[in-house]
């Protein structure tokens, strides 16, 4: 049981490290490419901005959930 917990914990830590690298890359990508466009949209077209904001946050959540689930499965699979 303890061995199993240690394996899961190690897989989770590795996942966090990989995830952190991906997220840092993502910060630069989103803030660099979308930052200015979203700012202009928020200033000039509020209704479009509202719709885009919801699509972005839901889209990102679905992708991130997929990434974390994939990472966890892959790492658990390897550690077993």
């Amino acid at each position: 049981m303890k061995k199993e917990t240690a394996k899961t914990f190690r897989a989770f830590l590795i996942e966090l490290v990989i995830y952190a690298v991906l997220v840092v890359g993502y910060f630069f990508l989103v803030l660099h490419f979308l930052g200015e466009w979203l700012y202009q949209l928020e200033t000039r077209h509020r209704y479009t901005y509202g719709g885009v904001a919801i699509l972005l946050i839901i889209g990102q959540a679905v992708v991130l959930e997929g990434v974390t689930t994939f990472l966890l499965r892959m790492l658990r699979g390897r550690s077993e």
């Binding site: 803030l31 930052g35 928020e42 990102q60 991130l64 959930e65």
Partner: protein
Amino acid sequence: MFFPISGAHISPIYLAIVGFLIGILGGFFGVGGSFIAGPALRAMGVDWNFAVGTDLAHIVGKSVVAAKRHRALGNVDLKLGLIMALGTIGGAEGGAQLIQMLKRAGNVNLVVSIVSIVIYCSISAFMLWEGVKTLQTQSKRTEAGRKALKKDESAFQHIAHAIHRLRLPPMISLPVSGVKAISLWVILAVAFVGGLFSGFLGGGAGYIRMPSMVYVLGIPTHLAVGTDLFEIIISASYGTFSHAIKGNVDILIALVMNTGAAVGAQIGAISTQYFAGPKIRLAFVPLPLIGAAIVIYTMMTGHKL
């Protein structure tokens, strides 16, 4: 890092950590965590209007992740969630109108503060009492009786059963939640009250809705947590759009917070598997008290956290 929409300078690491912590709470309890996110953004110099709107946007993302995980665990009743979303949106509009009325009367801060302290403390006291009572009843049972009773239970099940017997058409069934028949109006009323608090006190009001689903509608705790998260996706999306057109949402901050929340929400959702319903409800007790403490601090010092 500079966020041009709200004009704030905030470390993305700070935002991801705050998102991670709120994600764990949301995944485990089915709450939005606005009582932490709002003050955490405010502490970094974000204006209150942006803190409230951005928090709602972040709640949408975090709830998508946690609800997907809960759905995989079989903890989401889609039919119940969709019905509740209708009631919540109506209630949120009602709560916002109440705020406008109080604003015109000139005593909005005092009334909202007192109401929120009373509500938060009452919920905590009630859930503590109910959770302890349920656990005591369970521990008095014989070992055979305990093994036979695998399903979630509460000391207030008789209230939920009485509400199920209320014949107020149209009656609907919720097979996923194990409810054979319940009046549609009761579900809408529970959701409306949750929405009213959401519009009146801000945030997703999961601290009202999750206990109401357990005690009033008789939904098992795990399903109440998952369904509440699914319902929050719809009602918080509506709130996000409403705030966005008023210029209160910095979506870039919400996106960065959500990177941490995506991991936290999954941990929280998976953790619910290892706890029985009454224990989840007992662990929930400190959350409304944190909200009450923040309001008391604000009232006493005049500074918002």
